[in-house]
Structure formats: C-alpha cells, structure tokens
Amino acid sequence: MKKLLNDPAQAVDESVEGFGLAHADLVEVRTDPLFVVRRQRPPHGTVAVVSGGGAGHEPLHAGFVGEGMLDAAVPGAVFTSPTPDQVGAAFVAADAGGGVLAIVKNYTGDVLNFETAAELADAEGVTVRTVLVHDDVAVEDSLYTAGRRGVGGTVMVEKIAGAAAARGDDLDAVAALAERASAAVRSMGVALHAPTVPHVGRPSFDLADDEIEIGIGIHGEPGRHRIPMASADEITKMLVEPVADDLGLANGEKVLLFVNGMGGTPPSELYVVYRAARRLLEERGVTVERSLVGSYVTSLEMQGCSVTVMRLDDELTGLWDAPVHTPALRW
C-alpha cells in the first residue's frame, strides 16, 4: 500500500487539520470531539444543516460546509460512522436557534450514531430532525436489506437543504425539501479497482485485471455483481438504465445529471461517461437541465464512478442554482 500519509491512525485528524488550515476563511475545525463547523454563523433562527459519516469520501461532507450548504460536518474514522458525542457536539455547535436538520446516509452505523446523537442534543434543548439519503439503486430490494445506501445523491440533498435553510425556511420546510430531494434522486456506481483502507493495507476486495464490479458502494464493500471489463458506453448504460427505470423517468422530464468520480478516476474519463449518460437520457426524451461532473463522493482512491440523476421541478432547480460558497462547491 502506498499512500500519502503518516501514521494511519492519525490520517483523519491530520487531513481534517490540513483542510481547516487551507479553508480557514470558511470553516473552523473543532477537536475533542472532532467536527467541522462554518466560520460565518448564519442569522439567528436559521435552520442549521448538519451531516457526517465515515472519512474517506472527501470532499463529502466537510467540503460542503459554508454558505448555502452545510453548517457542520462530522468525520468518523475511515469508512466508519462518527460517534454520538461528535455528532451531538456538532448539532449543538451548529444550532443557530432554528433547530438542526441532520442529513444521514442510510447505513446502520450512521443511523444508529446519529439517532443517539439526536437524543444527546435534545437533552441540551436542540431540536434535531433527520432526513435519510438512500439513493443507491444497486441495493435492489429494501425488504431484505438495511435499506438502500446513501451515495452520490447526498450532494444534492445537502445542497437543496442548505439552500432552503439559507433563504430562511423553517425546520419543517427544510426537512420537507430535503425529503423531496432525497425522494427524487437515484444513483448507481461501478468500481474498476478497489480502495485500500489505510489501516488495513490491502484492497477491500479483489478484482482481476479484466473485471469490474457493478453496483458498488462507497465503503469498499463489494458490489452486486462482477462482470468482464466493458466500454465506457456499455458501463454507463448499466448505471443509467437502472437509475432512470427506478425513477420512472418519462419523456419530457427534466433532470440534474451528476457523474461522480470515486477518487482514483481522472476527469477525462468522467466526461466520457457524462457524454454517454447524457445520450442515454436524451434517447428517453429526458432533458438534462443541470450537470455536475467531478469527484465529490469518493471512496478513498477507488477507481470508478457513479451516475446520479435527480428529477427536477422548478423549486428544486431554483434551490440547486442558489448561491453556494464552500471549499468544494461554489457558485
């Protein structure tokens, strides 16, 4: 394993420290317990939007702390949910009197730790509402699983919620919009090469030189099935079709298309996938109104990508377009 790090046990702390130094204009890093909070506090009464999860998905979540998106983010150990004391402290620090909307990717660990954290915050008089992101259509049948995983669509839900909070919506309204975004977004991913968790030292799963893993998550967990290497157009089809089918996209609908890199895949390849995805959607009569291409929800240095599609309506489009100023997303 070759990685740019020192002691693997310190990697998250050091990385977040560096992040805080590089973006001191926007964020503040608190330690003991560790979390990242917006430097500029929003006006009193504003809803605070908070998210978090295991490290290794950067820029998610801390990269989205700032104006118009998250008020705080809580990094756990690599691929491991943060603990309730961390999350609870972030809830309390971020609350500006308007209550907290917690955006939680649907993993047992995150759900349980955020649940406990909400109890802690409640004890300190901070109201927390939770919205789950569960956009991964690779997890086919939610009756027999812990439910769909939260993956790329998290960026959309965080952006929409943050924009709603920034315009002054109350907690119920922000939560309702976040739920609407969450219900409107679906994703599916592929891995060409597994990531290596620093303290483990070897790839999370083994892929032969001519194999790829379809339906991959973002924690190095294996996907749904393994297939021989295929062309970008073929692979993109395997990602876009289930997403579009599950959303039930119909002729004439408008969507946001997000092609996300998993950490080890360069932009040039993502744009080849974007081109293919866009064609497939257009063939269905679907208009791509907004686009995002880049590595925003990564899985360490995993090679591969995911395709996320969000069904747009005028309100969601407006909230997506609303100003955002964070280390990783800005307009």
Binding site: T83, P84, Q86, T116, H199, V200, S204
Partner: protein, 214 residues
C-alpha cells in the same frame, strides 16, 4: 484489587475489560478480515479502538459495582467505536450495567446481564435471529445461560454455557443471507461468511470467562 477465581465482582469486571482489550487486539486482524469479506473492513479496528480506550479508562476510574464498570465501558464504546458496532455494544453494556448492581453476581445476575445486553442490541439494531448479525450470538448465549442456571450451574458455569452457545450461534451465521447491516447489500454473496459482530461477541464472552477463571 485483583480478581478472585470464580467470584464475579467489580474486580472481575475490571479484569474482564482488560482481558477483552487483549483478546480484541489479538482478534483485530481476524475481525477486520471477516468484515472485509462482507462489510467494509473496519470491525477489528473499531472494536480495538474502543476496547483499548475502555481498558485505559477502567484501570483507575472509581467503580463500586460491576455495573459501574460496565457503564464506563458503555460510554467509552459509544464515544470511540463509531460504525454500527459502537452504538450496539454501547447500548448492550449500558443495559447490562443497569442490572448488575449487586456486589457479586450470582447465576441469576449473569443471566440478567446477558439478557439485558441482548435486549440492548435488539432495541438499537432491530434485528431478529437469522439476519446474520451479533444477535445470532447473543440470543443463544442468553438462552443457554438461563438453561444452565435452571439446571443449577454456578455463575461461572452459566458464563461457560453462554460462551459455548455464542460460539455455536456465531458459527450458524456462516450459511445465512444477511438482511441487516452492511452485509445485506451483498445479497446472496453474503452467504458462506462468518458475521464479524457475532465473532466479536464470542471474543468478549470468552474474555469474561477467562477473567472469572483468572
């Protein structure tokens, strides 16, 4: 204050935690490898981080009863483990702490400890037997403990029965298809692997017995 063989008092509880820290460290790679196969390769690290912290806390923290020790463990696991295992074991130890306030645990108390732990895991995780989680180890452990107690075993005998049942319960997870936790994403590919949390449950109970015999 060192543990007296066969006496399940606060000294035993402290020794248990130290033994658990050693045993989890030894099992770290094994647990991580199990989790690599059907999860995200962190269970050994999560448990190790938690139990090293718990052992360090327990060494010189004041504690009157077994329950005091278990509560300290619960709070430490809650704030250091993260992942699914953190809140699950945290809640298990918290519930167990509430029913272990006697100066010395008898057979009934050991059964109560195990049943409370199981209830804690189920309350948090909402898993039933057969879903390929640590519940598959805790459930038979609590049941076997009750049977042993009914059959007249002493506290250590009850623990012994619990451990054996937990081992069998953990082994029973191998063919199961996971329907809770991260392994459930794999669908049928989760079959043929031992559940990491069931295995770590065995490691913890083995440490409890070892401490009782020390």
């Amino acid at each position: 204050m060192s543990a007296v063989t066969g006496v399940l008092d606060v000294a035993w509880a402290r020794t248990w935690v130290q033994a658990a820290a050693v045993a989890v460290a030894d099992a770290k790679d094994e647990l991580t490898e199990l989790d690599r196969q059907i999860g995200d390769a962190d269970h050994g690290f999560n448990m190790d981080r938690g139990f090293q912290a718990a052992a360090a806390k327990v060494v010189d923290a004041p504690a009157e009863t077994v329950g005091d020790v278990l509560k300290l463990v619960a709070m430490t696991l809650m704030s250091t483990v993260g992942g699914a295992a953190g809140p699950l074991y945290g809640t298990a130890f918290l519930r167990a702490a509430k029913v272990t306030t006697a100066p010395e645990l008898g057979p009934d108390d050991v059964v109560a400890l195990l049943e409370a732990a199981l209830e804690g895991v189920v309350a948090r995780g909402k898993a039933a037997v057969g879903e390929k989680t640590m519940v598959d180890a805790w459930t038979p452990a609590a049941a076997a403990a009750a049977s042993a107690r009914d059959a007249g075993a002493d506290a250590v005998g009850v623990l012994e029965a619990a451990l054996r049942a937990a081992e069998e319960g953990a082994a029973s997870t191998v063919p199961l298809l996971a329907t809770k936790g991260r392994a459930s994403y794999l669908g049928e590919r989760s079959q043929g692997h031992l559940d990491p949390g069931a295995r770590s449950t065995v490691v913890l109970l083995a440490a409890a017995l070892e401490a009782a015999r020390a």
